[in-house]
């Protein structure tokens, strides 16, 4: 059991509320309203900007060239991912200007600033535990939504999104992040601290569930 599995096991209800949220299930069976998905995409773009800052924070908090280098690669990867994101959004009729003009929703502010504050107030382990529901969780969700592989998705309306996170590339990113979490924990995690980290992980998972809920709510509001 690696540290990520221990964290999940410590907050099973919070974790389920996130990875098995109605938004996720309906994306999986293709019944998610397009308006909900589009609203989610816009906020996810604003989310990525703050996530880039979180990786920059990790680089700043690092003490060796090796650790700075790892964080810098993560930062570069996110900046690259925003490019992919812009293309995915274009496919749904959303321009980069649309996304940059959008107001950041409460749910976006809550999760992203929570992560940044965990990092600023704590150490690298706190920061990466707060990031884990997103970084590792998306890989788990992607895999769950493509049980027969990415090729089997064929005409699925959310094929690109699921394919992105179920694909080998992102699965590798998540596997690396899990190992990194184990390394950080081996260095700085006492059992007493595990209790605090589990609380932090549970809270981050709930904020991620709130983020999905925002997608459903904004989609429903747009449909009215």
């Amino acid at each position: 059991m690696d540290i990520f599995d221990r964290l999940k096991a410590a907050s099973p209800a919070d974790w389920q509320s996130y990875v098995d949220h109605a938004f996720v299930r309906r994306m999986g069976d293709g019944t998610l309203p397009e308006a909900a998905f589009r609203a989610y995409l816009v906020q996810d773009y604003l989310f990525l900007i703050q996530f880039a800052r979180a990786y920059a924070l990790a680089a700043y908090k690092s003490r060796t060239l090796a650790d700075i280098g790892v964080a810098q690669e993560g930062l570069a990867a996110i900046l690259h991912e925003t490019g992919l994101h812009v293309r995915l959004c274009a496919r749904w009729g959303l321009s980069q200007a649309d996304m940059e003009a959008a107001a950041e929703h409460q749910a976006t502010v809550a999760y992203t600033r929570f992560v940044l504050d965990c990092g600023a107030a704590g150490d690298l382990l706190d920061l990466h535990v707060a990031l884990a529901p997103c970084v590792v969780g998306y890989a788990e969700i992607g895999r769950a939504l493509a049980p027969d592989g990415v090729d089997a998705l064929k005409d699925h309306p959310y094929r690109e999104w699921i394919g992105e996170y179920a694909g080998a590339g992102y699965q590798g990113v998540a596997a690396t992040a899990r190992r990194h979490l184990d390394d950080l924990a081996a260095r700085a995690m006492t059992e007493r601290r595990f209790t605090e980290l589990a609380a932090l992980f549970g809270k981050a998972s709930r904020l991620e569930a709130d983020f999905w809920q925002m997608g459903l709510d904004l989609g429903a509001a747009a449909a009215r």
Copy 2:
């Protein structure tokens, strides 16, 4: 027109959505359900913890003993205010243990961590502009809800709360905060930067409105 008035004037809709929120109006006319008020009080306690951290951040970001001293007094005042808060809550049947055990709501996380992140990413002016809707806004709300003075509130169900913020003590705190904002702006505000600060202020006001809304929502949920 001081800088606070300019900031309000730049985001009138956001400001109104906050100071004239249904939660505020119903607190004013006494029709706010007790469950909503109690839910608000619990989250406001969790809010104060993060606000104390924001004043500590202001002290850390200061460069002179005088500025550190001002921030330290603000921090000491908030720690004192949490004591008052505990007594107010006791009057509504809420113990400190209840409040500390409560989960921080998304709306609480959003506004508090937004403020802390504005301060960490920006300078003292950014931090104090993000704090202003709370620090100065509560004085404005208090005054609006006690148009005939605190003594005229008599048996008003939310008399203590309104009295606290309409009273001379808190009105003085807010007046000092406004002058401090003017000092910071005289030092570091260009007109180009005003546009960014106004956006930040508008966003903070919306997050405060969301905080009131949380009170209504949690109250309605408790009543079901």
Copy 3:
């Protein structure tokens, strides 16, 4: 053996270079040139400003009201100490304006910003380990320079300084700081991390020794 004693034992040469520095020995036997002491006093005033910021950083990085409160008391105590410092300096003919106008010496910048950066990059344990050579070390130095008690110092030229740190008040502050370090270590210190903390402690001790050396150097330069 508490954590402080373990840290000292891990860097005996660095620790000795600090607590048994020529500046300290000559202050003890009363042969320290006044010019060196005065130069030290001025830089120590500039040092205290940054130390106040370090305690503010500790409050910002705290997560509970109790921890914020402890840091806030530390901050208030330092602000109070600067008042004492101003009086001590007046006795040596140095006004507060003199001290504020002085340029911060390289040695002052090095130790203070090192501590602040340890705190910003790391967690509360990193911050307090970096502070410990100063906070706890001064109590040890004070005790060593007043082996027969403060009253026996009589006409000693550095009687006020030695008395301040050898006195019961400061000895109590240092004892509390040691226990706090033990609490933080019990929460977050693995054995692997101890190696890093010991390196940090050794480096902080060397920077403190450099600070004494600066006093001697500036004193010698003034005498030329």
Copy 4:
């Protein structure tokens, strides 16, 4: 007159003490002892690690993808520069392991942590003003030491170093940094703030001069 020239003009003595330091002059005329240069190279390697962190801090403090991207490129460039540095050091018989095992000197700690703290306590403009003596100053020094161009250096003992900073590549980096400083100043610099920034710039210049002095001192100590 761009902002960089204004900052230099505000602290002419501090600036001269840095760009015209004996270390620089003796590097230029080829009389700098090899031991001094080698000692400098080792500390400069440790310096670069902290500079990488400073660019990561700039990315963290940024609010737009464009600004994050600029800082990320700066960070990637420094990580790349450390590679060049390792090769330059190898030419002088210094391995990466030697450099990583070296203790960080007081002068290295002082300037690097000062820069990082300016950034943490202030805004992006403070951070970049603190970085400017290094980033832009090295280009000025490189140009001054190669008045007839890099090719004319021929058998100069410090040809690689001078060539690196006098070369078109680094001159372009410095020119970009100057324009960036102008952009930041146009956004956030009032005249009142200029006085503070000039003090910060003067202090950073003195800390850079101290860094050269450390090279001479360590070289002299090694020769004994």
